[in-house]
């Protein structure tokens, strides 16, 4: 059972809290010692001073601050590097569909170059009347492959 009435309890709560606030605001400890009350409050005030002193001691970092800081700087660097965009992948890192498409395009270009640039055996007079029937097909196939490559690149 409480020794004090409710208003007295509340007054003690306020007095101790106020004392703690003064201690935490850095008021001179000697002055604080002088203001210590009598009775139950005195014991609590001494505990507050002791707790404050212990907390103050617990704040010492020794050399840990330098070690932790160095580790944090390393972690910071790692985190920054991870945020940077990935470098463009080289051809040997390409995925299979892209490689197949690029290979197909290369074959098509070589084939069309060979077909179109090889001198025809037909007489010169016939050249103007469409002697290269495959050329539109090569062009369309090339455009399709380029479009597929671009599409794949965007979704990769």
């Amino acid at each position: 059972m409480n020794k004090f009435s409710k208003p007295q309890e509340q007054q003690l709560d306020d007095l101790l809290s106020e004392f703690a606030d003064r201690v935490m605001s850095g008021e001179n400890e000697t002055n604080m010692q002088e203001t210590i009350a009598q009775g139950e409050l005195a014991e609590l005030q001494k505990t507050v001073l002791r707790m404050k002193a212990a907390a103050q001691k617990a704040r010492t970092t020794d050399n840990a601050d330098v070690r932790i800081r160095n580790r944090l700087l390393m972690e910071w660097k790692k985190a920054r590097e991870a945020e940077r965009p990935a470098p463009k992948r080289f051809i040997w890192n390409w995925t299979f569909p892209r490689l197949a498409l690029a290979g197909g395009l290369a074959v098509l270009i070589i084939f069309s170059a060979v077909t179109l640039l090889t001198p025809s055996a037909a007489p010169l007079t016939a050249t103007s009347s469409g002697s290269q029937p495959w050329s539109p097909l090569f062009i369309i196939a090339g455009l399709v492959i380029i479009a597929l490559l671009l599409w794949h690149n965007r979704h990769d």
Binding site: M24, L44, M51, A55, T60, R67
Partner: protein, 192 residues
Amino acid sequence: MINLRKSPPNNVPPIDEELVRLAQMGKQDSFILLYERYLPNVIARVRFKVPAGDVEDVTQEIFIAVLKSLGSFKGQSKFSTWIWTITNRKIVDYYRSRKSSLIEQDDYKEVVTRNLSNHTASVDSHQDDLMTVQHALGTLPQNYQDILLMRFVDEMPFNEIALQNGQSLEATKSLFRRSAAALAKRLEGDHE
């Protein structure tokens, strides 16, 4: 002639949230400033909860966690509240990792008390007041420990503690006095 120029902004230390914003933009110096600002209180909080041999590791883990989740800090709460949340979570993680099985809250308290007691046993408690207070504090109920650490280690004013705990200011002050009384009793017990 009156100098109308404003005093240099360096005189006023930047607030936490401003430093966080700059750190989020990639300013390393701002993060280091935050680290320097919070290290003493974080290490003190850890020291009251964790055996001395592991204090540095746990503190380091806390700041690495802060660094890694800095991008997710949106400023909805105060930075100090956010860092205390991370600190407490890491301390719980520490005890969880030490005990592979699931630790209930009561077990956690028991482990904390035992760990600190074991550590204190190796030191003459009369020679080291910090150890004595640590030990006595470790035997108190969790809510008593929390309010004392919030006020003395985290340096939170009573109105802020009340807000964080969802209590009235009167209830907070009352809890504080009961906690101080319990601590006084334990310290008296240690002394005898």
